[in-house]
């Protein structure tokens, strides 16, 4: 076959196993199989592990470089697992590490069955899984179901051979008039959801960039092929997937082509594969929509949930920022009040920061007016809440606020997702532009390249942060792990406390209201298997000024609040409302112990 027309020509994967190395007589691309590789040992069995897990999002590129080429890799990440275990992380979430032309941060996947060479190989990934599982740490990664890169051999076959086995893998059309009601998501760069392909002489459908053609889920072979992609990684031992951009799998004339019933049907198929063949692994939906729409992705509540095990709660994060800025609990109370109950076997994922941007598109409807009007009125919020900032600089490097935000992340309903580097209060580099500002190398030591890589500093993929406040000489893991009062040690301690009380993981959330608008107080209440209630009380001062609060705890009369980080006993709850005072941006976590439970602990 001619060099230029080989379907795998654009992959850059010569010498490693990849899709399209050869083609069968029937015209099928030969793809790597899981049997070709070692499989990792599984983590200890626990079907509900995700409900209480602390997740940690880490970019392979940014964590540790094992071979001195200036780019972080899977072996480098594996070498830091002791640190992550020490911190208390239960599960790593890795954004895509697949083969990719990297025109969309790796979300443009050109081979689902190969690793981006600069990150290592499939074998390196199995090594990472093995080492992680030994430490009871699980690993999930992104999987883009909706589309591929236009460099994927499937697309190359589809455009050159319309009659071949891949001819119907994508959504082709003679004109660009179909599905006119679907909005254009990336309005800044794309003018249509259709792009003309001169090779095939037809238009192809794409909800995202024009170099990311949508897969055609009407074709049963596409569905099977994608289920086999799931199986490939699950066979190797991966613990689950974050399913990217799930609302868009199917198209239907006369609809906005989002959240269609058949999209949910396919997700149910994915779930069935996981439940039947790989129990204990999870699916996490990325659907950047309002909670009442997102709950659909958990599936049927009567069945305990039969689609995704988890979904991100997107609107909570900006509301936490808004609440502290307004010194008012209502932005948070409102959104949690509007969040529907989820199936028994499901869990939210909540976060303060991640690699991605907050979009306001989801809040344009009339009833979602609140965020929009508040944000539109506040230029600083509009600029700062976006993609360019990390937690510490967003909060003016104020330690009290960082602690308050983290305390809320660890105690509001849902499994918390930390973003790498935020545990030491890393800064960002807004001069790098776009999303790279928050993707700089992890700061391990005050040494060269912050201990991230031994390469020549000029070769590093992005410069390490060097400013006097957030630079690696001031902010790094080594220095903070040696300082008992550091943010790192504080974060570790809070994670530890969280894990001692299952109420944080699965407890019912009860907003306590109260007459002081600046204090957000809530209970997490969990019925233990032994029939006892595990009740945790969280009180957060969203104001920078000291505040009093009187809480109606009448139903816990006689119980004693025990402060959870120090174990100090507070006065017993009596007939009157319970008075607490908090310093500016202060917070408390208490366990409420009934008199007989107190006796036990003596």
């Amino acid at each position: 076959m001619e060099e230029g027309t080989r379907p795998d020509a654009a992959l850059g994967l010569d010498g490693v196993p990849h899709t399209g190395e050869s083609i069968t007589n029937e015209g099928m691309l030969v793809e790597p199989q899981s049997e070709d590789f070692e499989h990792a040992e599984q983590a200890p069995s626990d079907p509900h592990w995700f409900k209480g897990a602390v997740f940690y999002e880490v970019l392979v590129r940014a964590f540790t470089d094992s071979n001195g080429d200036g780019t972080g890799d899977l072996r480098g990440l594996a070498s830091r697992l002791d640190y992550l275990q020490w911190l208390g992380v239960d599960c790593l979430w890795l954004p895509p590490f697949y083969a990719s032309p990297l025109r969309d941060g790796g979300y443009d996947i050109s081979d689902f069955r190969a690793v981006l060479p600069e990150f290592g190989s499939v074998d390196d990934f199995v090594h990472l899984l093995d080492e992680a599982h030994k430490r009871n740490i699980r690993v999930i990664t992104d999987l883009v179901l909706n589309h591929t890169s236009d460099a994927h051999p499937w697309f190359q076959q589809s455009r050159t051979d319309p009659e071949g086995p891949y001819g119907d893998y994508y959504v082709w059309s003679d004109d660009d008039s179909r599905y006119a009601d679907a909005r254009i998501i990336f309005v800044d760069t794309e003018s249509s959801n259709w792009t003309y392909d001169p090779v095939r002489g037809q238009f192809y459908w794409h909800r995202f960039f024009s170099h990311q053609p949508d897969l055609n889920y009407e074709n049963p072979e596409v569905q099977e092929a994608m289920l086999d992609v799931l199986r490939f990684w699950l066979d190797l031992g991966i613990d689950g997937f974050r399913l990217d951009a799930v609302p868009y799998l199917f198209e239907e004339e006369g609809t906005n082509c989002e959240n269609l019933p058949r999209t949910h049907e396919f997700l149910k198929r994915c779930r069935k594969v996981v439940d039947d063949e790989y129990p204990g692994r999870i699916l996490l939906a990325e659907a950047n929509q309002w909670p009442s729409d997102v709950v659909e992705y958990f599936g049927d509540p009567a069945a305990g949930g039969d689609e995704c095990h988890m979904a991100f709660h997107f609107p909570l994060m900006p509301r936490i920022f808004m609440a502290v800025r307004r010194e008012s609990r209502f932005p948070i109370s409102e959104i949690l009040d509007q969040t529907p109950k989820i199936p028994d076997n499901a869990q939210w994922g909540i976060f303060l920061r991640n690699h991605d941007e907050l979009t306001l598109e989801m809040v344009t409807d009339e009833e979602r007016d609140y965020m929009y009007s508040e944000y539109a009125k506040d230029p600083r919020m509009k600029a700062n809440i976006g993609i360019r900032r990390r937690l510490a600089p967003l909060l003016d490097n104020d330690r009290n606020q960082q602690e308050l935000f983290t305390a809320m992340l660890l105690s509001l309903p849902g499994s918390p997702v930390l973003y790498y580097g935020d545990e030491i209060g890393m800064g960002d580099n807004i001069w790098l532009g776009d999303r790279d500002a928050v993707r700089t190398p992890m700061q391990w030591t005050p040494d060269r390249n912050a201990g991230f890589s031994s390469c020549d500093p000029g070769r590093i993929y992005l410069p390490v942060i060097m400013d006097p406040v957030y630079g690696y000489q001031a902010i790094n893991v080594e220095a903070q792990s040696n300082n008992a009062m550091s943010l790192l040690n504080w974060t570790r301690r809070m994670i530890e406390v969280r894990k001692q009380h299952h109420a944080f993981a699965e407890g019912e959330f009860i907003d306590l209201g109260g007459s002081n608008p600046s204090v957000l107080a809530y209970k997490r209440q969990w019925l233990r298997p032994d029939g006892r209630q595990d009740v945790v009380l969280c009180v957060n001062n969203l104001s920078r000024f000291p505040q009093p609060v009187e809480l109606d705890l009448a139903m816990h009369r006689g119980s004693t609040p025990i402060e959870l980080t120090g174990g100090v006993r507070f006065p017993e709850i009596g007939e009157l409302s319970y008075l607490l005072t908090l310093p500016g941006h202060g917070f408390y976590w208490f366990q409420l112990l009934e008199p007989e439970q107190l006796g036990e602990s003596r």
Partner: protein, 475 residues
């Protein structure tokens, strides 16, 4: 049922001394010359005993009826010392703090019982949870409210007036048209006074998550006052739209909520165009109040010509009478009468201005009076942190900017909501003559109140009067 006349005698003898110490007692300005029992009902017989009593309080020529819940028990209950009306020879105490006794009121509303002349009822279709115990809330001014298990709130009206109770009537009317900006009415207790029915209690949904508008607004003011100026340019002050605690979004939503309540009231109870006679009466009432207050408060005198002129201008609106409408309104609207809940803003306490006569409270009035009340309240909130402090010009300027921004936002929200709804009066700023007069009238009332009660605050309404009559303030 025993009438227990001997207890009533004891009570009547002790009340003249006890009443003036009660927060809700409205006649603190004069001594109580006599208290006469008008009616008594044994709500719970035996030991403990719960007596519902209506007494007539005589203060020279003023005679007004009040209701009391009186307890009597051989085992003295755990109530505050101030609750004891008399201890010798028999112990009688005000029973709203005795949860054992007040629980009976809820039970009887659930049962829909009639006890003597007292009629306990729940609203049609409402199912109440039995067995809840009550605690009194302490913040109330002129009535007493009991909260049952964080679910319901029972407001016991202290000073009684016969005829339909405006608070209850308006709540029911708003409920019937599906208003989402009220705490739903759930039940009532009706008694009898001089042969006429009188509402003595109203049960409503209680909202444990609610924060009153005053606390919300002053949280924002506090944030603005504490915002730093920059060392490079100390003259450049932070503005309310730049700081974190900006309240304009809330003020706008609050304006929309008030407008929706007005539209709902007009829909439920009707509205009519104002006539010339009504305009004249309104102006006369404003001028009378002005004269009366100016006679007592010398600080007001320099403003009298400008105020008089602003009030007189209302007479000139005769040609526009077609667009000025009268309807049922809240009547005493301010930030303390609105609640922020997770579901949005609610209005509470539709009784009307406490100082107004019963007839005045029930009369149809311009909804602009409510708008004016809210605008005044924004002014108060803005200045609340400065009262009693040495004047700091920069802070006064911030307060002014805060008030202007949030008054504007409130009017924006009000105007937008009415435009999108069915009925209403449009943008209140378009009726500036009337709105200004109502606001000034309210400020004159405030001058009188502050002069008598809180001299430190007198500067707040006086400064507003100066500013508004000077034309320096658009809304």
């Amino acid at each position: 049922m025993t009438d227990r006349p001997e207890l009533l005698e004891e009570l009547a003898a002790a009340l003249p001394r006890w009443l003036p110490s009660q927060r809700w007692f409205a006649g603190k300005d004069r001594p109580v010359t006599a208290v006469r029992p008008l009616a008594s009902t044994v709500v719970l017989d035996g030991d403990p005993l719960l007596l519902h009593v209506v007494v007539e309080v005589v203060q020279d020529d003023r005679v007004e009826p009040y209701q009391l819940l009186v307890g009597h028990c051989s085992q003295p209950p755990d109530v505050s010392a101030a609750s004891w009306i008399t201890t010798d020879p028999v112990g009688l105490y005000e029973a709203s703090g005795d949860a054992d006794l007040t629980a009976v009121l809820l039970t009887k509303m659930i049962e829909g019982e009639q006890v003597g002349t007292l009629r306990f009822a729940h609203e049609p279709g409402v199912e109440l949870e039995p067995g809840l115990r009550a605690r009194p809330i302490t913040s109330e001014q002129s009535n007493t409210s009991l909260v049952y298990g964080s679910r319901y709130i029972l407001k016991l009206f202290r000073k009684l007036s016969t005829g339909e109770n405006k608070d209850l009537v308006l709540h029911r009317a708003l409920r019937d048209v599906g208003s989402t900006h009220i705490a739903q009415p759930l039940g009532s207790i009706t008694g009898e006074l001089a042969g006429e029915p009188v509402t003595v209690g109203m049960l409503q949904q209680f909202l444990p998550d609610a924060v009153d508008g005053w606390a919300m607004a002053t949280t924002s003011v506090r944030d603005l006052m504490a915002a730093p100026s920059t060392p490079e340019d100390p003259g450049a002050q932070p503005h309310p739209d730049e700081v974190g605690g900006d309240f304009a979004g809330e003020a706008e939503r609050l304006g929309a909520s008030v407008a929706e309540v007005h539209a709902d009231l007009a829909r439920a109870l009707g509205s009519e165009p104002v006539d010339a006679g009504e305009l004249d009466r309104t102006v006369k009432a404003m001028l009378d109040r002005l004269d009366a207050v100016a006679a007592r408060v010398p600080d007001l005198i320099p403003h009298v010509p400008a105020l008089r002129s602003a009030f007189e201008q209302v007479r000139g609106l005769r040609e526009e009478t077609g667009i000025i409408t009268m309807q049922s309104i809240h009547g005493d609207l301010h930030l303390g009468q609105v609640l922020r809940t997770v579901g949005g803003w609610l209005l509470i306490d539709f009784e009307g201005e406490p100082a107004a006569s019963v007839d005045e409270r029930r009369a149809l009035r311009s909804p602009l009076r409510d708008v004016a009340g809210m605008l005044r309240s924004f002014d108060y909130a803005a200045h609340s942190l400065l009262v009693g402090q040495d004047a700091d010009e920069a802070h006064v300027e911030r307060a002014l900017e805060w008030a202007t921004r949030n008054r504007e936002a409130f009017c924006e929200g009000y105007a937008a909501a009415v435009a999108g709804g069915t009925a209403g009066l449009g943008d209140p700023r378009e009726q500036s003559t009337l709105l200004r007069a109502f606001e000034l009238d309210k400020a004159v009332y405030e001058v009188s109140y502050e002069h008598a009660n809180r001299p430190d605050w007198l500067g707040v309404p006086l400064a507003s009067i100066a500013r508004i009559t000077d034309g320096g303030d658009r809304t």
